[in-house]
Amino acid sequence: MYGGNNQFDGNAAFAGGGFMPSQATQTASDHSFSPAKNRDSQTLIPLTVKQISEAFQSSDDKTNFLIDGVDVNNVKLVGILFNKAERVTDVSFVVDDGTGRLDCFRWVNEAVDTKEMEAVTNGMYVRVHGHLKGFHGKKQLMAYSVRPVDDYNEIASHFADVIYVHSYNSRLRKQQDSSFMSAQVPNSAFNTPLKGYQASASNQFPGYSMDGIRGVDKMVLDYLQQPSSLAREKGVHRNELAQQLKVPSEKILEAIESLESEGLVYSTIDEFHYKSTANG
């Protein structure tokens, strides 16, 4: 029960890492993700303290926070600084962004660090960039940049950023979920008539995203998707497409080539007749 007594021992509390280089290498070796994924997880994410306090901490104690399904390592906060305390190797302070308070530490190794920390005082609005870290179940920010806010539009702008990134990440997650769902039932869309195809258009080809098909490509595909076109065994002649859609035949050819490479249409009896693959 008294095991907790030691945890505020300064040496113990800060010997556990926090120097940025070692943190970085640790992060790199911890994740067995592809390099791209790893880079993604190191982007600077604007957050509120409330979001951080609710962050889900997966597995080990040091890294891996999840917010909106995204790995969070480096964060950006804008808030009022207070309880600034200078010590031998670091400066500790608290940031209150109006949604909550977060303990922060700034290592002072070089003159530039000292100088930057001298420029901020209690009660001042600051923008903090840092590495989010869990320590004994608590969350702390190892700050590597603390700068005073001099244009106060930055406050509203920061919170607009927070909202945007939250919406972006949660929508991304939703999309991934829905494409996963549609991958589970790939045939249902094909067996339904025209109406069904339109309704499920965005989910039908999870890898291709039908949103990308526009202009003539879309017109050609829509024409070939019509039940009357689908019913014809030979498919539709290129000239017919050009006449019906009132589009020059070169454009039709271009569109067909692009749709063919996407696997959405195929040639039938010769290179003039095409059908939609949606017929099964």
Partner: protein
Amino acid sequence: MYMIVYLYDGGKFCRHIRVEFFSFLDYSLPQILFIVEALIIHWQDMDTSNPAVFVNAEFLKEHVGRRVRTVVQVVQSDGDKVIGKSTDEKQLVVKGYPPNPLSTFVEVIGIADTTQSIQAETWTNFGDTLDVISYDKVCRLANGDHKHLFI
């Protein structure tokens, strides 16, 4: 009278207990010390219990009695109050002792004491140019669909 004490085992929150004030003497000194330490740990951890909600005059009405933050354009400043225009162009009264000098725009964090006034705790000069329309929009977002990110 009682208080809720959050207990931490090896730094991890494990449970909270209810401590009756009048029965505090039933605990041994080490136990009391532990409880006090647990309380300190809890306080030192992120405190999201007392947020300052982004408001304009319209949303102030929903937060009477709570901590709020807003920006006003100073219209008139007396010794112990400021009459200002909110970001949604209504009149707000801010009670307290404003800083001197006071810029055109000032941010106030304090308690909403009525639907049209705030008892100020913290004043911050926001300068003479501020995009109040953007501030008002963020305020609406923070009270609307994205409320959970703030309070």
